[in-house]
C-alpha cells in the first residue's frame, strides 16, 4: 500500500483490513524504541499534540502522552469536566481554538458517542479518538489485536471471546470491527440485559453462558464491569456477576491450555476476573499496557503523515 492518507483515527469501522495491518506493522517498528537507553526518536519533533479529555482517564491519557513524547512531540493535556446540560464552550469551538493555537493533533476522549467524528469534521488538524461514549476506542482495540498477534502469530481464524458489559463498551465495538475485518471469529458474552440489539449483525456470535465463551477460545478479552454507572435496577449485582460471568481458574480448567486472557484495565479484581487469573500465566494484561505505547506511537506518527499526504 502507498502512503497513509487518513488524517484522523476515529474508529476501526472506518479502516480497511489493509489499513489496520499497516498500523500494526508500524507499531511493530516502534516497539523497539521503548527498549532503548534513550527512549526517543525525532519523528514528531516540532509537532504539538493536545490531549483533550472530557472524561477522567489515567491510563489512556498517560499512554498517549508517553507515546507522543517518545516521538519527540510537545504534549499539552486539557482535562475538563462536561455535562450534558452545562452551558459552556462547545466541543467544536474548543477544537477550533486548539487548531488556532497551531496544534497538530488532538487526542480526544469524550462521553458522547460520535464526538470524535464530529470534531474531525470541523477541524483540519488530525483527530485521534481516545474513546467516545459507547462508540469506539480504536487504539485500545489495536493494542489488543497487536498483543494477540504477538502472542499467537496471526489473527485470521482465531476464536476470540469478549466478555462483559458489551452494551456500554466502546472497547468491545472497536475490537469487533478490527477482529472481524482481520478474519477472527468473535463471540460476545454477557447477561442478556447487557447485549445491545442486533449485535449479531456485526458478524459476532452471542452467548450469555461464560463457559460457552471460554470453550475453544484462543483468547478471552474481559471487560471492566462499570457498576459505578449502574443505570438500571436490572443491572446484575456484583456478587451475582462474579458467580455467573467472572473468569476464574476453575473455569479456565475447561479452556484451551494456552488460552490468552486480556483486560483493558483498570481491573476489578474479584468481579469480572479473579486475582489468580489476572496475575496468572495466561494473563497478558501488563503486556497490553506496554504494547499500547507502540500502537499509539504508530497512530500518532501515521495521522501526522496522513495530514501531510492529503
Amino acid at each position: 500500500m502507498g502512503g497513509w492518507k487518513q488524517k484522523d483515527l476515529l474508529g476501526l469501522e472506518y479502516l480497511t483490513k489493509e489499513q489496520i495491518e499497516h498500523l500494526l506493522v508500524t507499531a511493530e517498528s516502534f516497539k523497539e524504541v521503548s527498549t532503548r537507553g534513550i527512549k526517543k526518536v525525532p519523528a514528531l519533533r516540532g509537532k504539538t499534540v493536545v490531549n483533550l479529555f472530557y472524561e477522567p482517564s489515567t491510563r489512556t491519557r498517560v499512554s498517549f502522552e508517553i507515546a507522543a513524547k517518545r516521538l519527540s512531540a510537545d504534549v499539552i493535556n486539557i482535562e475538563t469536566e462536561t455535562s450534558s446540560i452545562r452551558k459552556g464552550e462547545t466541543l467544536i469551538d474548543t477544537g477550533l481554538n486548539i487548531q488556532a493555537l497551531k496544534a497538530d493533533i488532538i487526542v480526544v476522549r469524550h462521553n458522547a458517542s460520535g464526538a470524535a467524528v464530529m470534531l474531525a469534521r470541523h477541524v483540519d488538524i488530525s483527530v485521534i479518538n481516545a474513546g467516545d461514549g459507547w462508540h469506539e476506542h480504536p487504539t485500545q482495540a489495536l493494542l489488543d489485536i497487536f498483543t494477540l498477534k504477538q502472542k499467537l502469530g496471526r489473527i485470521e481464524g482465531l476464536k476470540i471471546s469478549i466478555v462483559g458489559d458489551i452494551a456500554h463498551s466502546r472497547v468491545a465495538r472497536s475490537n469487533i470491527w478490527g477482529l472481524t475485518k482481520l478474519g477472527a471469529e468473535v463471540t460476545v458474552c454477557a447477561p442478556k440485559i447487557l447485549i445491545p440489539p442486533e449485535i449479531e449483525k456485526m458478524g459476532v456470535r452471542v452467548t450469555d453462558k461464560i463457559d460457552n465463551a471460554i470453550h475453544n477460545a484462543d483468547a478471552i478479552n474481559v471487560l471492566r464491569m462499570q457498576f459505578e454507572r449502574d443505570e438500571t435496577t436490572a443491572f446484575p449485582k456484583q456478587l451475582e456477576y462474579f458467580k455467573n460471568f467472572a473468569v476464574t481458574e476453575e473455569r479456565l480448567k475447561r479452556a484451551k491450555k494456552d488460552i490468552i486472557v486480556m483486560h483493558p484495565g483498570p481491573i476489578n479484581r474479584g468481579i469480572e476476573v479473579s486475582s489468580a487469573v489476572a496475575d496468572g500465566e495466561q494473563s497478558v494484561i501488563l503486556e497490553q499496557v506496554t504494547n499500547g505505547i507502540a500502537v499509539r506511537m504508530a497512530v500518532l506518527f501515521l495521522v501526522a503523515q496522513g495530514r501531510r499526504n492529503r
Partner: protein, 428 residues
C-alpha cells in the same frame, strides 16, 4: 387581478382532471378550466411542458412563532413553503406560549394576518400547555377556528384523558392528530433501535415505542367513535395497525414524512445531526412498507414535519442535538424523487397525498382547482433536477436532511389566492 395559466398538464384528482388545460383565475378564485381559454388577461403564465396542480397542503409544520423566532418566523416559514409549492400549512401548537386557549389562537391569528405569505391553519393543543393533565376548551378553540387538535411533540400518556378528548372531539366533529410515542420506551434514545444504535453506541428508539401507541390511540378513538389522524408514521408495524383499523372501518387517517421515504437508518451512521428526528429514520424494510402504504392508500398524506432548529442546537454532540429537520422546500421534490420517478405512484396519487387528501382530512376548502375554489396553484417542472444546497435554503434554519442530495422536480411558480407569490429563482 386576473391570470391565465396556459397549456399546462392540469392534474386535479378531486375533479378527475389529468389533461392539458388552460386555467383562468380572477379575484383570487379559479373561474374556468377549459381546453383553450382566450381572454384579454394582464398576466399569462405559459405552462407548456409543465404540470399544474393544486397548491400543496402540509398538515404538519412547526413555524416556531410565537416564542422561537430565532429558529423561524411565520414570514420566513411561509416564504420557504411557497418555494416548495406549499400554499397551506397546519401550524402545530407547541409554540411558546402553547396554542391552548382561544386567546392564544387569537394572538396567533393576528400575527398570521400580518406576516404570513401562504395560508396558515392553526392546530390547537389537546391538553393545556401540552402537559397531558387537563383538556383545553375544545369548543372555544373550534369556534375560534382551529382546524385540528394535537399535542404534537408529545403523546398524551393519560389514557382516560385522551379518551375524554376523543369523546369531546366526536361531539363537535373535531379532528385529533396523535403523536404516538411511549416515552417510557423511547426516552434517552436518538436513533432507531437495532444494529444502527448498536454500531453507533447510542440508545435506541424502538419501533415498539411508536406502534404500541398507534394501536392504543386508534383503539381509544374507535371506542369514542371519533376521527383520528396519526402523525409522522415511520415503521411497518404502525402501517399494519392502521391498515387493519381502516379495514374494520375505523375513522383513521395517517401521514408520513419525506425523510422516511428517501432516507433510512444507515444514512445516520455519519453522526450527522441533520438526520436526527423523532421518530428516527428506520430500516430499509420500514421504508419499503411506507411506500407500499402510500400506494395502497393506508397512508393518506405526505407531511413535512418541518422542524427548524438553529445551528447551536444542531452542531453539538449527536445525543444532545435537537430532534427535527426542515422540510418545506424539499417535500414535493422528495415526493417526486422517491415515489413518482421510481414508479411507486402516478402523478394523480402524488397530488392526492400532497394536497387533495390532507385538505379533506382537515376539512378545509383547499386541495382542488374546481371552479370557484381558491386559486392556490403550483406550476411544476417534474423533470428538473437540482441539488439541495445550504445557501439556497430560504427557511431561517438550515437543518435539512437532504443537503447535498440530488432531487427531481422543481416548483416553477406558486400562486396563492390568485396572486403569483413565487417563481423559480426568487420570491416575488
Amino acid at each position: 387581478m386576473s391570470m391565465l395559466i396556459k397549456q399546462g398538464l392540469v392534474v386535479d384528482p378531486a375533479q378527475g382532471i389529468n389533461a392539458i388545460k388552460d386555467i383562468l383565475i380572477d379575484k383570487g378564485n379559479v373561474v374556468d378550466i377549459a381546453d383553450c381559454i382566450s381572454a384579454n388577461i394582464e398576466q399569462v403564465i405559459n405552462a407548456s411542458g409543465l404540470v399544474v396542480i393544486p397548491g400543496l397542503v402540509d398538515m404538519h409544520a412547526h413555524l416556531r412563532e410565537p416564542g422561537r423566532e430565532d429558529k423561524e418566523t411565520i414570514e420566513t416559514a411561509t416564504t420557504a413553503a411557497l418555494a416548495g409549492g406549499i400554499t397551506s400549512v397546519l401550524a402545530m401548537a407547541n409554540t411558546a406560549p402553547c396554542i391552548d386557549s382561544a386567546q392564544a389562537v387569537g394572538l396567533l391569528q393576528k400575527r398570521i394576518q400580518k406576516s404570513a405569505r401562504a395560508n396558515v391553519f392553526i392546530a390547537g393543543a389537546i391538553t393545556k400547555n401540552r402537559k397531558g393533565h387537563a383538556l383545553v376548551d375544545f369548543r372555544g378553540l373550534q369556534n375560534k377556528g382551529v382546524a385540528a387538535f394535537t399535542d404534537d411533540g408529545s403523546s398524551v400518556d393519560d389514557e382516560k384523558l385522551l379518551s375524554k378528548a376523543f369523546g369531546v372531539a366526536r361531539s363537535i366533529d373535531a379532528l385529533i392528530i396523535c403523536h404516538c410515542e411511549d416515552t417510557m420506551l423511547s426516552a434517552g434514545g436518538s436513533v432507531n433501535s437495532g444494529i444502527i444504535s448498536t454500531r453507533m453506541g447510542l440508545r435506541g428508539i424502538s419501533k415498539e415505542s411508536e406502534y404500541k401507541r398507534v394501536e392504543r390511540d386508534i383503539g381509544l378513538a374507535e371506542s369514542a367513535g371519533a376521527k383520528i389522524h396519526i402523525a409522522h408514521v415511520s415503521c411497518a408495524e404502525s402501517v399494519e395497525i392502521i391498515r387493519r383499523a381502516k379495514q374494520r372501518g375505523a375513522k383513521v387517517t395517517a401521514e408520513t414524512c419525506p425523510h422516511y421515504l428517501m432516507l433510512c437508518e444507515e444514512d445516520v451512521t455519519d453522526f450527522d445531526t441533520n438526520k436526527k428526528m423523532n421518530p428516527p429514520l428506520r430500516s430499509k424494510d420500514d421504508r419499503e412498507a411506507l411506500k407500499q402504504a402510500i400506494k395502497d392508500g393506508t397512508i393518506d398524506a405526505l407531511a413535512s414535519d418541518h422542524a427548524p432548529h438553529t445551528e447551536n442546537e444542531k452542531d453539538i454532540e449527536f445525543e444532545r442535538a435537537a430532534f427535527g429537520v426542515i422540510g418545506f422546500e424539499t417535500m414535493l421534490a422528495v415526493g417526486i424523487t422517491a415515489l413518482y420517478s421510481t414508479g411507486v405512484i402516478d402523478v394523480d396519487m402524488l397530488v392526492q397525498i400532497c394536497s387533495t387528501k390532507p385538505a379533506r382530512i382537515l376539512g378545509i376548502n383547499k386541495g382542488t382547482l374546481v371552479k370557484g375554489s381558491d386559486a392556490d396553484i403550483v406550476v411544476l417542472d417534474p423533470k428538473h433536477e437540482w441539488v439541495v444546497e445550504k445557501r439556497d435554503i430560504i427557511s431561517k434554519s438550515k437543518n435539512s436532511a437532504f443537503l447535498g442530495k440530488r432531487l427531481k422536480g422543481r416548483v416553477a411558480h406558486t400562486i396563492v389566492n390568485g396572486e403569483l407569490a413565487y417563481s423559480a429563482g426568487g420570491v416575488l
